[in-house]
Amino acid sequence: MSKTLFDKVWDAHVVRKIEGGPDVLFIDRHLIHEVTSPVAFLGLKSRGIKVLYPERTFATADHNTPTINQHLPVSDPLSANQLKALETNSNEYGISHWGLGHQKNGIVHVVGPEYGITQPGSTIVCGDSHTSTHGAFGAIAFGIGTSEVEMVLSTQCIMQPKPKKMRINVTGSLGRGVTPKDVALFIISKLTTSGATGYFVEYAGEVFEKMSMEGRMTVCNLSIEMGARGGMIAPDETTINYVKGREFSPKGEAWDRAMEYWKTLKTDEDAVFDKELTFDGSSIEPMITYGTNPGMGMGISNPIPDAEQVEGGVATYEKSLKYMGFSEGQTMVGKKVDYVFVGSCTNGRIEDFRAFASIVKGKKKAENVTAWLVPGSHIVEAQIKEEGLLDIFNEAGFTLRQPGCSACLAMNDDKIPAGKYAVSTSNRNFEGRQGPGARTMLASPLVAAAAAVTGVVTDPRTLIQ
């Protein structure tokens, strides 16, 4: 029978099917961090069970870490306690631990691919919804809750009903100043934040074929924001070139075998999806969000839609605009910006900093803007320095912070103050996501750069030489 890419990977990992219930799914790689794992370890302890395959789990500290002065002790006692718990638990159960200060430390979804932990055809889970990032490699990757973290630690399996399948095709090519982030925000604006709930998405078409691995990760990362469990892209030359030679990638004969297998990982011609959508890539503009969920996005030159034009309740829509301090019909271009955040597992990779640099080069940071540039990992940080981007940033009045999730979820001190406006390259603009009362506008690194040098929301196409 013809199968989709998703079917092939899923079916290869089903240990058993339960009548009238979920599949028992084997998990190849498990990533953990300090926030969603401690209670899972407590569960193991209270049941008196061990970690079944400690070599399949990797721990990194990222959600709750400071992004300056990482060499000093963590000042918040609760955060310090959580970081300590991750270290103690990892050591006790024999799990690799890349804590704060470790050379391999960084955002879980940035370091996984960088070290070759993420591989085509594998199943990957983590107690973080943006685990969907790893789908860029043709892996089935999704976020899980703490009970499931405990399941994976104790049995390397979780129990999930098989999701429905959706394919999203984006054809043609992207216009000037349009990045993978814009493609994702565009799709989410079309589907709404619940439009893909219950589905696993495959992205296909020319736009994704031409995209770099970094770009594909950005797109797959945001799959969860339209409700999908995850998103994936079939592995190709670009994927294989990225994976080759990384620390945990297969070597020698194992590599040859893997290559043979990875070649089979594509959707059969006549395979059927439960839902299929096609968009024209050339119709996508640089995007920005104006509301309090990632589906409330639009082309940057458009006016904020009227409540009647959007799906869903008028009351919820109005509550959202009120929180943002915006009104229907206004244009976003020209609105004042107080903060700019470049980072997160969505846009904290080297390409994102290159894009940011391409606009700020030779200009100056606007005085009214506080900018936080936070690399996703030490590798990204090192690349920024090697490629001379740091010099460009410094000359333009920007500084670089140290790796971590930072203002993406504002668990550490990197909080946007109440009422302030932030253009952010992260993934969620929920009320208070970036700090109590913070007002977030999600956008690409180019839009973030344009805001950082002009102090207002600006179409980056006007600044690209």
Binding site: G20, P38, N64, T146, S147, T155, Q160, S194
Partner: protein, 198 residues
């Protein structure tokens, strides 16, 4: 952690007719620093419930003594956002055992089922009926019958059935969890691991 058994729940309900209630509202990230599962109920809907100076916001439903009960009724697309199980813990710890909505985000629904909170998905029309009934009379009793898979407005007898997999239903009725199940098939899992493609 095996959890409470769930059979038939009869209770008044707390109405929250807002759509896309996300996990950052259910429990803001700054309250995720605990290493034990205690006290999350205090911070359920923290920023909707309290002012920055920690005084309660009088207009938020959890601060309105008129509404109480073990059933939370929310608008469409309830629980979107993060995978933090803390959101479900907060709902449970506050005292809710059932959440009703016309649509749930996937991970939140799963997390609820894994800790013994029953997500009940009803039609948009039935959801409107519940909101109307509860706003008209906060003492309105709802019956959630898991064995029968029905939810009923007791005053009028208005009833709708809801879906749940038979596996999860048995788990909830008996207070079992998935880890109990998986532990029992560990040798099968270990054999399976030997024949993976890579």
């Amino acid at each position: 952690m095996a959890y409470d058994k769930f059979n038939i729940l009869t209770s008044t309900a707390v109405p929250l007719p807002i759509e896309n209630v996300d996990t950052d509202q259910l429990i803001p990230a700054r309250f995720l620093k605990a290493t034990e599962r205690v006290g999350f109920g205090d911070n359920l809907f923290r920023d909707w419930r309290y002012n920055p100076d920690n005084t309660p916001k009088a207009d938020f439903v959890l601060n309105n003594p008129v509404y109480s009960g073990k059933i939370l009724v929310g608008g469409k697309n309830f629980g979107s956002g993060s995978s933090r199980e803390h959101a479900a813990w907060a709902v449970y710890d506050y005292g809710f055992r059932c959440v009703v909505s016309s649509f749930f985000a996937d991970i939140f629904r799963n997390n609820c089922l894994n800790i013994g909170v029953l997500p009940v998905q009803v039609s948009p029309e039935f959801l409107e009926k519940i909101f109307a009934a509860v706003f008209a009379d906060p003492n309105t009793q709802l019956e959630v019958n898991l064995p029968e898979q029905t939810i009923t407005l007791l005053a009028t007898g208005d009833k709708e059935s809801f879906d749940i997999s038979s596996y999860k239903k048995d788990n909830m009725i008996n207070g079992f969890d998935d880890i109990d199940y998986l532990q029992n098939i560990k040798s099968e899992i270990q054999e399976f691991a030997l024949q993976l493609p890579l």
